[in-house]
Amino acid sequence: MTDTRELLSALIDGEAADADTVATILEVPTNRALLVDFLRLRVSVQSEGETAPVWREDRFAALDTRAQRWVRTGLRAAAVLALLTAGALGGTWVEGFLTRERPPEPTRVVQLQLVDHR
């Protein structure tokens, strides 16, 4: 059964198949139905893959072409601005972290000696 499905699938994919074997298989009605199913599946896959990508005009359906350009330009500018702002804030944080006031490391440690008040 598995061999029958594989052979029919290969046949649909355009691979070489033995004609006598295919003829024998197709004498069985269920195998003919299987071949038709494979064929339909193949057609449906081909039609999806061949569909060219299209811009979803419905998104800006209310806008004309010139308005779309302005929107796109605005979006690009906003993205650049957001990147620059993020960079500046990040740089400020890094600079603040690096220059944050902290006690310097001592080269030696000494202890105060108690003083009595005379």
Binding site: E101, R102, P103, P104, E105, P106, T107, R108, V109, V110, Q111, L112, Q113, L114, V115, H117, R118
Partner: protein, 325 residues
Amino acid sequence: MLTKCISATAASVLAFMGAVSGVAQEPTRRWDPSSEMRPILFFTAGDVGRSSIELRVNEYVPLVITPAFRNADDLCVSSLQFGFDPTDLDRAPAAWHVEARLVEMRQGEATLDLKWTRRVNRADVTPAGSFTSEQRVNLREGDSRILDLIRTAHRSSTGCDSFGLTYGWGLEGPRTLSDAAIAYDLWLVQQDADGELVTDRYRVTAKQGQQVDYFFRPLSYTADGHRGGDGATAILMNISGAIRGRVRTDGNIDLTVDGSRGFTDAASTAAVASHGRTMLTVRPGETVEVLTDLPVAGRLSTFGDLNRMFGKHRTAVRITAKRLW
């Protein structure tokens, strides 16, 4: 007079070098006073005047102090004269002839012998006549003591009823560096027993040999020694002190650091504190850490043993000193 005083005592530098090498390095290993440092005895009379003599080891150095009173009715002083002429004792309304010698110098302290004579030639001033005293004194650097005090026999409602002379012992650095200035960068580094770290910073500038105070923001604690919030503060820890530096000709700086760690209750009704001092020599820009977690004598009102409560806390002041000019 002052010039005469200075020139006459200039030769004592060599004697002091011998004193330093023979006396001062024994008591402590940390204090390594420069041979450029000169021990002095200074005299002051309020804010009217100040003069000093350079001390010699086991050799008396004299000084005659003569106040110039503004008028004959009171003891308000317009100026002080310092010299070496003992006959001033007979001429001036009041004068003191002081002789001093250095006996011994330890870390931040000195033992001196003082011989002095007071002569009062004004009938309205008491005690009248002459008085002579001789004493051996132990002085800490920067401390000031009263040498003598005279009063008018009749109280004056507007003038000065008394005149007092004070004295103290100190060290001075090289004369060529007398105009030097030092910048101090001080950091409080407080680490509690639970590992919490708090830092605070204080910066101050001072002249060569000038002592300046430092202090930090008080730290709040609960009654069991943990860091306290706004409503839970029971004890406040105060770290403060004073620092004095002298630049050497080799660029290093001699430091005298006084520190105090005190505790007060939240209502400021009771306080205890301990004080300490250390002297050390640092390289320019070198950072040293001075531990100020001194044991406290006594108790703070109803609180327990502060030494046990704060025994595992570590309190230190990191000091960086640089010569400004």
